[in-house]
């Protein structure tokens, strides 16, 4: 049997070969799929382009979604914060607006990249694009960041299915926040251990998150949650930059997610049988559907 792909393994390959974390993932992909480097990089560029288009469309969106719960949240926020300083900071509000815009685009049947899932599609690109604008990050660096984010998803995917129905929202928005944190940390020049601790800190606070969408649709709480989870990824990066480390090692954090995912009752795993979906208002909305 193939040995499990873990953060520890990833770090050791990077040290042994003296190549970056992004390069390890690129080499792993060429080895395992037989695809060429150029082919993979082109495909990544294509996905980055789809992500950017989904952001641009999402920022303009003001059409009500099929489930009738989401309309123009990102537009409203952007308008307000053009004139008013946000309490949460410029980086945070930009990240939230971008992530919500893409999540809205998903809810409204726009074209998106599921990363790792459709319901959490706003978090990685929202964080990346806001960060790139604020820090002047170029396209090539973003591609490297995407490779690292994908590598994180691959580590998690070895142990758990990334779907709300399988592990609750931690398996969608939780994983996405960890991927975003690791990607941004890498683009900032973070070394191996720092990158993985950004993942661990970003994910730990989302462990156990219920997947309780109203009417079973990817609208409430999903769209705004994309904004919250993305901001949390930024905070994880800042904590690591300041010198904080996760007490529980990154690979063990993944084990904890698997364990909690199994323990969560099925009513909180995308069935709309618990939580927000079963509130008085939640039920009224789903009957209207």
């Amino acid at each position: 049997m193939k040995p499990l792909w873990t953060f520890e393994k990833w770090l050791s390959v990077s040290k042994e070969k003296n190549i970056s974390l992004a390069e390890v993932i690129l080499e792993k992909e060429t080895d395992e799929t037989g695809a060429g480097r150029e082919e993979i990089l082109e495909e990544l560029e294509k996905r980055l382009k789809v992500m950017r288009e989904s952001l641009e469309r999402g920022l303009k969106r003001d059409e009500i979604t099929p489930g009738g719960m989401i309309k123009d949240e990102s537009k409203v926020l952007e308008k307000f914060f053009c004139e008013n300083p946000p309490l949460s900071g410029l980086g945070a509000i930009k990240t939230a607006i971008y992530s919500i815009a893409i999540a809205q685009e998903n809810a409204g049947m726009g074209r998106i990249v599921a990363i790792p899932t459709a319901g959490s599609a706003g978090i990685v690109p929202g964080t990346f694009f806001a960060f790139a604008e604020l820090e002047g990050i170029d396209e090539n660096r973003l591609i490297e960041g995407l490779l690292v984010a994908a590598g994180v998803g691959m580590v998690v995917g070895e142990k758990m299915e990334m779907a709300g129905a399988a592990g609750g929202c931690q398996a969608e928005c939780g994983v996405a926040a960890g991927m975003a944190a690791a990607g941004v940390m890498f683009m900032l020049g973070g070394r191996g251990e720092e990158v993985f601790h950004a993942f661990a800190l970003g994910v730990k606070n989302l462990i156990g998150l219920a997947c309780d969408p109203v009417g079973g649709l990817v609208e409430v709480p999903c769209v705004k949650r994309n904004g919250f989870a993305a901001v949390q990824a930024l905070l994880a990066v800042d904590m690591v930059r300041g010198g904080i480390r996760s007490v529980i090692p990154p690979d063990e954090v993944v084990d904890a997610m698997v364990d909690v995912g199994r323990s969560l009752p099925s009513s909180l795993k995308e069935t709309a049988k618990g939580g927000l979906a079963q509130t008085k208002t939640g039920l009224q909305i789903s009957e209207r559907e």
Binding site: E29, I40, T65, P66, G110, R111, A114, I115, A150, A163
Partner: protein, 221 residues
């Protein structure tokens, strides 16, 4: 498990749900590919979780989009119902909540002037699908491979004959499955291949005296 970059970073799809939208578009496209010709109409029955949330997830648009030949990333999916009406494509939807099979399953009956086919399939998360029945015959197809669906008379040695014919054409078999209704009756054989199968090979299979019919089902992205 065994993740690669693009299983985490993808698919590129029209939202909002990989199981209820992307997977359903692929199911629609599978039905189109099984029919093998431009369909003129369809009756779709949604079961289980699909029955309760198909409108909010746009599964209705997705399935029609797929039937019209759209991929799950096609930006026209949100307007698929309008496009269908303009083309004169007739469709009806039915929802039956209790489900005996997979919670996300649907049945598609689609036709053109010459024939009608019926397909039962389910959406298995992340845009993955499984076709369980075609025209009442049990099959298990995930749409990832170019597939041959052959109805043949259950006689000894038939499987070997088909396999060697494919081998002689350098077609490699990825998965193969045989189901029969009764001994010496009609058997259904599905062969998932690594490479595309040309029309002359399909014709050659059809010419075999023990073959009742042979259809080629292209893979669905």
């Amino acid at each position: 498990m065994g993740e690669n970059i693009f299983s985490v970073l993808g698919p590129i799809m029209v939202g909002p749900s990989s199981s209820h939208t992307a997977g359903v578009a692929r199911l629609g496209k599978m039905a189109r590919n099984i029919l093998g010709k431009e369909p003129e109409g369809a009756e779709i029955t949604f079961f289980g979780s699909f029955a309760t949330t198909y409108k909010g997830h746009g599964s209705d648009r997705a399935v029609i989009g797929g039937l019209l030949g759209m991929d799950s990333s096609d930006g026209r999916i949100p307007n698929a119902l309008e496009i269908a009406s303009e083309m004169g494509f007739k469709y009806t939807f039915k929802a039956i909540e209790p489900v005996s099979g997979h919670p996300n399953s649907l049945e598609i009956k689609t036709w053109n002037k010459e024939e009608t086919i019926e397909m039962l399939g389910s959406s298995r998360g992340g845009g993955n699908i499984l076709i369980e029945k075609i025209n009442g015959f049990d099959v298990l197809l995930d749409g990832q491979y170019p597939t041959l669906w052959i109805l043949l008379f259950d006689r000894p040695g038939m499987v070997g004959k088909i396999a060697s014919l494919l081998a002689s054409k350098m077609i490699n078999i990825a998965n193969m499955r045989l189901e029969r209704s009764q001994p010496r009756g009609l058997a259904s054989m599905t062969i998932e291949c690594d490479n595309a199968v040309g029309p002359e090979i399909i014709e050659e299979i059809r010419q075999k005296e023990f073959v009742s019919s042979c259809r080629y089902i292209p893979r669905v992205r």
